[in-house]
Structure formats: structure tokens, C-alpha cells
Symmetry: none
Subunit: 221 residues, 2 copies
């Protein structure tokens, strides 16, 4: 797995790089946003470890750029700011997870491994579930060959359901997939996105199991 590390502190940077690369991943290290952009122009990464306090801007800017251009790489934010506010801001910008300094290197490695596992467990780029084709790498969904346009949240819900097709997924699990943790939602967001998803991929594709959760029906075969 290719990992891009964006971190200006030399001590932390080298420690993280050594640790992650010793886990068997290829790590490129950029000390500022400019270098990070240059590296991303010539190589693609499955995971970005992102510091927020950089000399030439905020890491969140890079994250937003990535998401805007459709880069689906996993992003793990490393930041000294432990306030809930910046945490939520990062997650809203499309980060997958958040580690506050000082963090345990073993914990970092565990999260990196989790991302790695996610990618390894999907050998085939496109996954077929009934009439649906789900392309995780490109965040694309097709139904009967036609490409569907899903919003970010809609995609998140679908991907969570597709992770274990046929399984009943609790609402709280979907919520976790949408907001990671730290953020709080006070209304029926999940229900609304399930509704919108159903309108796009077909009502019959998602079954409600009252009191338990939702279920992506594998059409039964």
C-alpha cells in the first residue's frame, strides 16, 4: 500500500515514517502542502496521513481538494488540536479518522493496518450485488450498466451496506460509517439517506428490518 505522509515536524515525521514503513508499506514524506501536491501529481496513494498545522496552509485544504477531484484515498488526520470542533471539521471535510497528538505509535499502526485490510479484502475492483455494480476504488455505482450519481453521504451508506451484503446492519453502524466518531447527529439522518438511496438504486434493494437495521438484499443469489 502506498502511503503519503504530510508532516512538517522532523522528529514526528521520521518516527511515523519508520514505523509505518516497517509495517510493509511504501511511505512518501512531504513536509509541506506544495510537496504533497507535487507527489500526488505523479503517484497515487491509498492512504494519506495528514498533519493540519503546516507552514504553507492547513492540511484541511489539501483534503478538500482531494475530495473535490474525486480522490477516494483514505485520509487519517494527525493533529495536536484535540478540540471537538476541528475534529468535526476534519471529518466533514472527508477524513476517515482522526488521531490527536501525542498518539501511540502502536495505535497509528493499528489504524493503518485497518485501512490496508480494507483494500486487500477487495481483490476485484467491481463488486456485483444483484443488478448493482459497486466500484469502490472509483466511488462509482452502476445499475443495469447505467452509472448512477450518488452524493457523498449516499455513497457512504451504500458502501457500508455493501460491506456485508445480506447482513442486517444496525442504524448506529451506518451512522458510524457516515460520521466516524466524535460527531453527533440529532435526527433521522440515516433514514433520510436510506430513502434517497432507495430512490436511486431501487427501493427493493434495501430492506428494513424493524428495530434492527437495514439490509442490502443480494437478490437472493
Amino acid at each position: 500500500m502506498r502511503v503519503l505522509l504530510v508532516e512538517n515536524d522532523k522528529m514526528i515525521g521520521s518516527a511515523v515514517r519508520d514505523h509505518v514503513s516497517s509495517s510493509g508499506h511504501a511511505v512518501d514524506w512531504a513536509e509541506d502542502l506544495r510537496t504533497a501536491r507535487d507527489l500526488q501529481a505523479v503517484a497515487s496513494y491509498e492512504l494519506v496521513l495528514l498533519d493540519l498545522g503546516l507552514p504553507d496552509g492547513s492540511g484541511l485544504d489539501l483534503l478538500r481538494e482531494m475530495r473535490r477531484r474525486g480522490d477516494a484515498a483514505a485520509v487519517l488526520i494527525l493533529s495536536a488540536r484535540d478540540q471537538i470542533a476541528s475534529r468535526i471539521e476534519g471529518l466533514n471535510a472527508g477524513a476517515d479518522d482522526y488521531l490527536t497528538k501525542p498518539f501511540d505509535l502502536a495505535e497509528l499502526r493499528a489504524r493503518v493496518s485497518a485501512v490496508s485490510r480494507r483494500y486487500l479484502s477487495q481483490p476485484s475492483p467491481e463488486r456485483r450485488i444483484g443488478p448493482l455494480g459497486i466500484d469502490s476504488a472509483n466511488r462509482k455505482v452502476t445499475r443495469d450498466g447505467e452509472t448512477l450519481a450518488l452524493s457523498a453521504r449516499e455513497w457512504a451508506v451504500l458502501e457500508r451496506l455493501a460491506r456485508s451484503p445480506g447482513a442486517i446492519v444496525a442504524k448506529s453502524e451506518i451512522e458510524d460509517a457516515l460520521y466516524a466518531f466524535g460527531a453527533e447527529v440529532e435526527s433521522n439522518t440515516v433514514e433520510v439517506y436510506v430513502l434517497r438511496l432507495r430512490k436511486k438504486i431501487g427501493r427493493e434493494m434495501i430492506a428494513t428490518v424493524r428495530g434492527m437495521g437495514y439490509q442490502l438484499v443480494g437478490n437472493g443469489g
Copy 2:
């Protein structure tokens, strides 16, 4: 996923139990080491949430026992001691992760989900009991290959019975599995759910043992 919660504080215990079970996992709650050992003797758990300060000893003892006998279950330590020392001690004893109180419930849920994901990628955990197939991870029940639609309570009853197939389970035990600690039930709820379950999975699957309880028959083979 089967989760064993070992926690003596009733407030924390019930909160954690409700939260984790709402994510779709089956949670057994032991308030001391002795109970925890008893539960582990009759059931197997994929995850143990372990408090260290228990009335009859340290949770670390239980953890060491588990590792000694080759129990590979994931262990997540919940402890008020935030010192590095005990943290390292716990990790050395074979814990997978460490949460210090007070911890964010959403964060706990996220870690539990991480463990769950790890286990979901493993081959089918489906359990066969006569003509029944019980998939605890996906909350699915099949009879002769056909998927049955169970309500939340019906599923809870079936899962409790399936935990020890062939054993006689007292009504009070089923009641405990249905309702959170301290809930009041004033009527024959268990009987009613056994009735409804029987209608779906087949009358002969659940035997009544008068004066003692119910029994999920493994058909004898």
C-alpha cells in the same frame, strides 16, 4: 458478534451494554471475575470488554488466563487508570486495545466495530441446529435454506436458546436476554414470544420442560 462485558459498575455497565447491543451485537454482562469465567465456560466470545478494577481480582488475571489457554478473542480494556504503566502492562498481557474512562461511547462503538469487521471477513460463522441455520453476525436465520424474517424480540429469544443448544433455559434467563436489567415485565411475555418463534421456525424446534424452561432441540444429530 458475541461480546462479554466484564464491569462491576452498574451505571457504566448498563450504558455500555445498551450501546454495544444497539449496534447489533449480543452482549453478556458479568459483574465480577467469577461470573465472567462461568460465562466463558459455556459460551465463546469474539470480544471481551474488560474492566480492571473488579471486586474479586484484577481483569488482567482473566486476560492472562485466556491467553494461556489459547483464547484468541479480542480484548478491549476499559480502565480508569490512565497511567502509561498499566497501559503497557495490559498490552503486554495480550490486550488489543485500551480505553481510559471516561471514554466516549461513540469511540467505544467504533472500536467494537473495528473488531467486528475483522471477524466478519472470516468464513461463515453460521451455526447449524437441525434444519436451522443461525448466523449471529448477520442476524439471519434460515430454515431449509430459506431465510426467515424474525422480529427483534423473536431473534433475541432464539439466540438465547441457541447459545446452549440442547440445554434447558429457564424462563427468567430468557427474560434477562430480552430486557435490560431492571425492566419490568408483568405478564407471560416469554411464553408469547416462544409461541411466535415456534410458528416461524417450526413447533418441534423448541421443547417445553414444564416447571423448568425451554429447550432448543438439536434434533439429536
